[in-house]
């Protein structure tokens, strides 16, 4: 192959050497000239010489080639594939060791022979298409074929057959490589399967994601799973509580009937029941092969099912639901298919559970949202220690800022009203630093400046190390509640202020509400009254109240008068307005009654009625008297005439009797007339002093000696314009009554005195007018008049005397006479002690000018002293207050002793004088005085009483009361006594 350098040169070694050098130089030069791109030179003698450098290169590449060949051979034998080369005649040129191993022959037995020479035909056929590749020159690449291995196992091979060409591109043979791709194939398949499975599960997820309704989810799942596995049917069923009865709600079917309906699991074989009940997947490939006819197979046949995969849902030990795929023919379920059904069913249950939970969550969230909005309730958090505040939309709304506002702490606190800022700051700090929770009601000013009330609740949240990392809480707008609370408080105050008794009772008449007005009116405190039966407490007349209750129950309201008894025994007349209170459903719940005390009004009404009655009786009597006078006139006139005609003594005697009787009748008529309205007595100036002296004489002369008579008349007693005879009669009538009241013994005192009545007094007594009066007083120490009778003593024909002894006209005549003189009468009586009649008659004074008016100017004035006035009569209280205030005093009022004590306890230091009535319900004067004396032994006290002073002075003195005003008192009296009292008190203090 190689050319030797020229050897024809025969010169000396040196020459040879020179020539060789020259040759080398020449070659080098040639190379240089050709840019190193020349390999050989053609000698003119027809020899070709390979240039030295090219030879070197060639040799190196041959060595490399050899090495490459060796490497390739090693590779050839090592590659885990069968490789063979064939020539164009389909004979094996070369095979590698793998071929020999897999065919069980030696390499040298194979090489140089054709497949049909060495292999059985079936095996040789495998090599048949080698020739085709050789002939067509087109490679066959990546052919994957399935073969069965030596033990019949699955064997996958990939075959690549490529023709190879000589340098001219002519096909000279074939190289084929076969390698075992069974493992790769299996990996690929399982990859493909899992990819498919994942894609299916993904598609399933996508399809069910938008669905919220569990039933709809099941429909979609059944269809998709059924289609994916190409099954005849996919069904799901709910299992009843017994664990065996079940209902197929829906199924997907592919060319087979739907099985929607009710079934019994036990019909499908014992294995079916036990497998499913234990939560296992039931896999049946052929029902007829796996079940006995009477243990399920018949049932499966009846529903046309041959193969099944059924997955149960077992929860809390009970079979709840199932999902199954059916095949109408036997089917060899692949493990992947069973796994897929299990996976899908599991996902399906989970999804349904999640959906249900989501739905619940959504609902509760919606509810919460509605509740938050309705209740104006929001939440907030403050992260620590950075202090980052987060407000919920509702909290922002309450502050009047847009949702998402994130204020800093200072801004957040700045929203509170000034007085609330410090409270919330301290509460927040205590919570953030010490973990103290808070719950506060605070005033807030919203962004638009309107004030609202909020409730802020906060608590600390700690991390694992116990550090407070957050303060969080709730925030609620409670303005409405605050306003209604305020309204309720105001209303409650109004109810308590009302003078009426406001009482609520249930339908059994147990008291449930008792206003302050009721406490004042009835004397029972709320605690005492609550829960008691109204009728028992106040002694309500049963018949009357029943009638009222019927009205309330039937028409819902009633209005009328009822008598009730207060705690102190006073019988009160009440104007009651009852109303039914109904609950929100309209059912009767309780009765509300508003009772107005009209006792006083009733009394006045009665008095008015009595006056009217008396007036009509007067008119009647006047008319009768007039007629009687007309009858008696002629009788008396005729008697004179008859006396002249009938002079015999017998006749004279008879006439005398007739005359006496007629005159007495005329006298009686006059008396009747003088009681009636029509009396027109003579009006002359009458000296009462003389009148009293006359009466004293008569009484002393005619009354029994056991009655001691005293008179007391001042010399400067004014006079009265009136009828002396009538006034005489008045005094006489009263003295006779006094005598009759003292059958065994007693004192009769007749006195008279001047009295100037002022505006103050007049205001307290409607019958009195300001001006000068004379008071005539007839006082006895007799039996007294019972309380029940005192109202009636002035009624005509009312008498307590035995029949025939009194006419019942005495006092009514007296009253008529006094009234006709412009006066009035007051009676004070105490059974067993005595009775005082006071006759007030307008007097004539020497000076014509109004005395009272002048005197008012001179009356002593106060100097801002605080006077506590106690009287149960509101009119007396108010007139007294007006008077005292007009004269420079300050006044506080109490309606009874208890109230007085309460007021004294509050303002005792200020009170200068106590003015108290002695006769009061609840806590009377003496009791009040005793209590107050204990509080302040020095307290100046003035006692007021309608009873004669004499009887009580001793008692007052024992109480330490030195000052006394008789009731009714005039402003003058009151002011003078008050001045005296104050002066004495000052002296006492000085001492």
């Amino acid at each position: 192959m190689t050319n030797t350098p020229a050897s024809a040169v025969e010169d000396t070694e040196a020459e040879i050497a020179a020539l060789v050098r020259t040759l080398h130089e020449t070659q080098q030069r040639l190379q240089e000239l050709a840019g190193g791109e020349v390999d050989a030179v053609v000698h003119p003698n027809g020899q070709s010489y390979m240039l030295h450098e090219a030879q070197e290169k060639l040799r190196r590449s041959e060595v490399a080639l050899h090495r490459q060949q060796a490497e390739l051979q090693a590779l050839f034998d090592v590659v885990p594939a069968m490789i063979w080369f064939k020539d164009t005649k389909n004979g094996f040129l070369r095979v590698n060791r793998r071929v020999a191993e897999s065919t069980g022959m030696r390499i040298d037995e194979i090489e140089g022979r054709s497949a049909y020479d060495i292999f059985p035909k079936q095996a040789a056929d495998y090599y048949a298409d080698d020739l085709q590749v050789i002939q067509s020159g087109a490679p066959k690449m990546g052919i994957i074929e399935k073969l069965s291995g030596p033990e019949g196992q699955e064997l996958w091979v990939q075959t690549d057959k490529v023709p190879f060409c000589d340098s001219d591109g002519k096909v000279t043979g074939l190289v084929a490589m076969v390698h075992d791709v069974t493992a790769r194939q299996q990996t690929e398949r399982s990859l493909r399967e899992s990819e498919e499975r994942l894609r299916f599960l993904n598609d399933l997820g996508e399809a069910t994601r938008p669905l919220a309704d569990p039933a709809q989810i099941m429909v979609v799942v059944a269809r998709m799973l059924g289609e994916h596995l190409r099954v005849s049917r996919c069904a799901y069923a709910d299992v009843e509580k017994d664990g065996v009865k079940y209902s197929i709600r829906h199924d997907y079917t592919d060319n087979c009937p739907s099985l929607v309906g009710d079934y019994d699991l036990t019909l499908f074989g014992a294995r079916t029941v036990t497998t499913l009940a234990s939560g296992g997947t039931l896999v049946i490939r052929d029902t007829d092969a796996e079940f006995l006819p009477d243990d399920g197979a018949d049932s499966f046949r009846a529903v046309g099912v041959k193969a099944v995969i059924c997955c149960p849902l077992v929860k809390e030990g009970r079979l709840r639901a199932m999902m199954a795929v059916h095949q109408t023919v036997p089917r060899e379920w692949m493990p992947g298919e069973v796994a897929l059904v299990e996976e899908v069913v599991e996902r399906c249950w989970a999804l349904m559970e999640r959906r249900t939970a989501e739905e619940n969550l959504r609902q509760s969230e919606a509810l919460l949202r509605i509740a938050s909005r309705t209740a104006r309730l929001g939440g907030w958090t403050v992260d620590l220690p950075v202090v980052r505040i987060n407000w919920s939309d509702e909290v922002c709304g309450i502050h009047g800022v847009p949702p998402g506002t994130m204020p800093d702490l200072e801004q957040a606190i700045g929203f509170y009203a000034l007085q609330s800022q410090e409270i919330i700051s301290q509460a927040f700090l205590a919570c953030a630093e010490q973990g103290k929770p808070f719950d506060l009601e605070l005033e807030l000013i919203t962004a638009d400046g309107s004030p609202v009330w909020v409730r802020s609740i906060g608590e600390a949240q700690r991390d694992g190390a116990g550090e407070i990392t957050r303060v969080q809480g709730a925030f609620q707008d409670i303005t409405e509640r605050k306003l209604s609370e305020k309204r309720i408080t105001e209303q409650a105050a109004l109810i308590d202020e009302a003078p009426d008794a406001i009482v609520v009772r249930d339908l059994e008449h147990r008291i449930t509400f008792w206003s302050k007005g009721a406490e004042r009116l009835y004397g029972w405190s709320e605690d005492e009254a609550r829960g008691k039966f109204l009728h028992h407490l106040l002694h309500v007349d049963h018949d009357r109240s029943q009638e009222a209750e019927r009205a309330v129950l039937s028409i819902g309201a009633w209005n009328g008068e009822i008598e009730k008894t207060a705690r102190d025994g006073r019988v009160l007349v009440l104007d009651c307005r009852w109303a039914m209170v109904r609950d929100t459903h309209g059912n009767a719940q309780s009765i509300l009654s508003i009772d107005t005390d009209i006792t006083e009004r009733k009394k006045i009404e009665q008095q008015f009625l009595r006056a009217q009655r008396m007036e009509s009786i007067g008119t009647l009597a006047g008319g009768i008297a007039h007629d009687l006078n007309n009858s008696l006139g002629p009788i008396i006139l005729s008697l004179d005439l008859l006396g002249q005609k009938l002079t015999d003594p017998e006749s004279q005697e008879l006439l005398e009797i007739i005359s006496t009787c007629a005159n007495r009748g005329a006298g009686m008529v006059r008396q009747v007339l003088s009681f009636g309205r029509g009396v027109d007595g003579e009006r002359q100036e009458v000296q009462i002093r003389h009148l009293v002296r006359d009466i004293e004489k008569i009484v002393n002369d005619t009354f029994l000696k056991h009655i001691e008579v005293r008179t007391s008349v001042p010399n400067d007693l004014w006079t009265v314009m009136g009828d002396a005879t009538q006034l005489h009669q008045v005094l006489l009538n009263l003295c006779v009554n006094a005598r009759d009241a003292m059958p065994s013994s007693g004192n009769l005192t007749i006195s008279a005195e001047n009295l100037a009545l002022d505006e103050h007094y007049a205001a307290m007594n409607p019958e009195a007018h300001p001006g000068a009066y004379i008071v005539l007083e007839v006082e006895d120490t007799g039996t007294g008049i019972p309380r029940s009778a005192i109202e009636k003593i002035f009624d005509p024909f009312f008498t307590t005397k035995e029949i025939g002894k009194g006419t019942g006209l005495g006092l009514s005549t007296t009253l008529a006479i006094v009234k006709s003189h412009g006066g009035y009468i007051r009676v004070y009586s105490e059974p067993g002690t005595g009775t005082t009649f006071k006759i007030y008659l307008p007097a004539q004074t020497e000076a014509a000018s109004p005395i009272a008016a002048e005197r008012v100017v001179e009356l002593p004035r106060g100097n801002g002293e605080l006077i506590l006035v106690v009287d149960d009569e509101s009119s007396v209280r108010h007139v007294t207050q007006q008077t005292l205030e007009a004269f420079g005093y300050r006044v506080i009022l109490a309606a009874d002793g208890a109230e007085a004590v309460a007021l004294y306890a509050q303002r005792g230091d200020e009170i200068a004088v106590l003015l108290t009535d002695m006769m009061m319900p609840i806590m009377d004067g003496p009791a009040t005085i005793q209590v107050l004396r204990k509080l302040n032994a020095q307290l100046p006290i003035i006692a007021a009483s309608g009873l004669p002073a004499n009887d009580y002075i001793a008692k007052f003195a024992s109480l330490g009361v030195q000052h006394f005003v008789p009731k009714p008192y005039t402003a003058e009296t009151l002011l003078k006594v008050l001045r005296q009292t104050l002066e004495k008190a000052q002296i006492a203090v000085r001492e």
Partner: protein
């Protein structure tokens, strides 16, 4: 339009000499790229047929002769300088 000319080459090489092999490869590449289906290459190995080299006055290998289309062009070397070769052959670069 004229029908593209058919190229006839004769490449003188010295066996598997490296430059000769390079020349063969380069020529094949140029033909594939510019003269697909319209070329013909005759390879003359001067080691085997030195007389033909002499006859054609080829003194060095590798040596390319463009026989047609005319005029005849002769290039000695590995034909690695493609632009020069293309120019010499009258082909567009």
């Amino acid at each position: 339009m004229s029908i593209p000319a058919h190229f006839k080459f004769r490449l003188y090489v010295a066996g598997d000499g490296p430059n000769s092999t390079l020349a063969k490869t380069n020529l094949a590449a140029i033909c594939l790229e510019h003269l697909a289906d319209r070329h013909e290459i005759e390879i003359v190995d001067v080691l085997r047929e030195p007389q033909r080299a002499l006859a054609d006055l080829v003194m060095l290998t590798p040596h390319l002769v463009k026989l047609s289309p005319g005029p005849i062009r002769k290039i000695t070397g590995t034909l690695s300088q493609r632009e020069v070769v293309l120019q010499a052959l009258g082909l567009p670069c």
